[in-house]
Amino acid sequence: MSTATTRRSRPLGVRGIAVRTPYWVFTTALAVLFLYPLVWTGVSSVSPHPGTNQVNGWGFGNYITLGNYQAGVWVYILNTVIVSGLTVLLTLVVSTLGGYAFARFRFVGRNALFLLTLAILMVPYATVLIPLYVILTRVGLQNTLLGVALVLTMFQLPFSTFMMRISFEAVPREMDEAAMVDGCTSFSALWRVLLPAVKPGLITVGLFAFLASWNDFFAPLILITDSRLQTLPLAVANLRGQVQGVVDYGATEAGVVVLALPCVVLFLILQRHYVRGFLSGAFKG
């Protein structure tokens, strides 16, 4: 970060501490405000509460309720894993090949195709999903996990294609040209030389695709009609109204934890890379 070096922390005198205390109090309060809802949900999902499956003492009663919900939570987790896995894989393959094409080749319709890909961002989710419901029904992909993954991949393309294009453009042309002179085909130049060089871009694209597909609500809501094929967000949202019309808040909390935990953990592991990826100038305005 270029701004990082402009202000060095100096040793604080008494006056310095007096000036800084309100700042620390304020920022700590802000941090607590952002973290509190997550921590509260995690804690209360295992704490006793009347009207849930965890009335006396601490324990995992709410998770047991969640586990026994309809087809069993494992089915929904598996569905979600399949959808996210397929989406991440498809997004990585399509955007790597596409980014390579846009960054390194000149072909007829190149700019038009790139702008059309970015235009996906401008179009409302609902505007495309309702006709997609009809189209996927026609080809037998409605009510399938593959259908959902294909649709989610399409929605990922503007960001991922853009990201991979600038990642490839940041690699010196000499690298792949040297490989080609040594007899590599354009594909083996991509596979052996360029792919390792664009790894940060791949991680960012993969992380975004995972977070988006793991959490997506609207696409499965419209495309999936069979309750056994529901993804986790849909199942947890539907779970609320199931138990004799009374909302089981405990099981909902457990569901939120199961939904959020992989995302938060993954984010914390990759956050250094992710924040740096953003700040390293990938998005120069």
């Binding site: 094409a101 072909f107 505007t127 495309v128 009809v134 294909l150 959490n215 939120v256 305005g285």
Partner: protein
Amino acid sequence: MTVAAPARRITPPRPPRRRRRSAAGWLYATPTALFVLLLFILPLLVVGKMSVSNWPLLGGDLGINAPVNYQKAVLNRFFWDSVGFTVKYTVLATILLIVLGLGLALLVQQSTRWKSVLRVAFLVPSALGLASASLLFYVLYSPFAGPFAHLLAGTGFSFLGTPDAALGSTLFLIVWRYAGFYMLLMLVGLQNIPDDVYEAARIDGAGPLQTFRGITLPLLRPTLALTTVLCVTGSLLAFDQFYILTKGGPDNSTITVVQLIYSVAFQGQNDLGIAGALSVIVLAALVIINIGQIRAFRGRSEV
């Protein structure tokens, strides 16, 4: 955000080689082209057709009936209410997220260890999906299970009980979920402002407020444009948060346009024709609004 064109042009190669590279380029671009064509362009054509056809959810395409769907769409008893509510929500959410995103960014701009911790704390909620965050706040706001339940028990207030409270509570959820992300975009923008500009301002004796108004804001304009367009687009298409948190209530006061489209298509009315007409109207409005925003930001930067 301008899309950087390749900086260098390759020296014009001999014709046969260029043809080969062109063919290879298309080969690599084919998967992208297939996705864009089959899952984006084709649906847009179908939704256009849908909007001028009699097309019940289960009956399929029963032929052209233009412009009946558009008339029915505008005459829907929730149409103007949902447009009004969506616009109100969008204006409030955009102002809140831009101001708070920028505020947080200024707060954590320098990289000290404590500020890195703060940055991560603000960003953690953005790892959650909007549906998960909405479910989380659904419990948090609950008058039975929420942490404030016993405090509010006697007051008669509930987070989702009145139209204004429901809107405010949803806005709080959205700020909680997205403020960190907008902070990150603002940080990228702030980072692109050269240090010597600030240095010059300091030498000229500018105070912090003057520096902010005279340097930071004008030089941040591209970032502000990008974040505003992103935020307006996202908010106009709001669905998950209201579908899960308020279910359009209380008294149908929080129905957004996309919720209206969803309910016309799949809940009760089951009319894809009218839903298609609504979708086309939303798409047209969004394109016009975004062109207007981009013009506005460009126009001002030329002055």
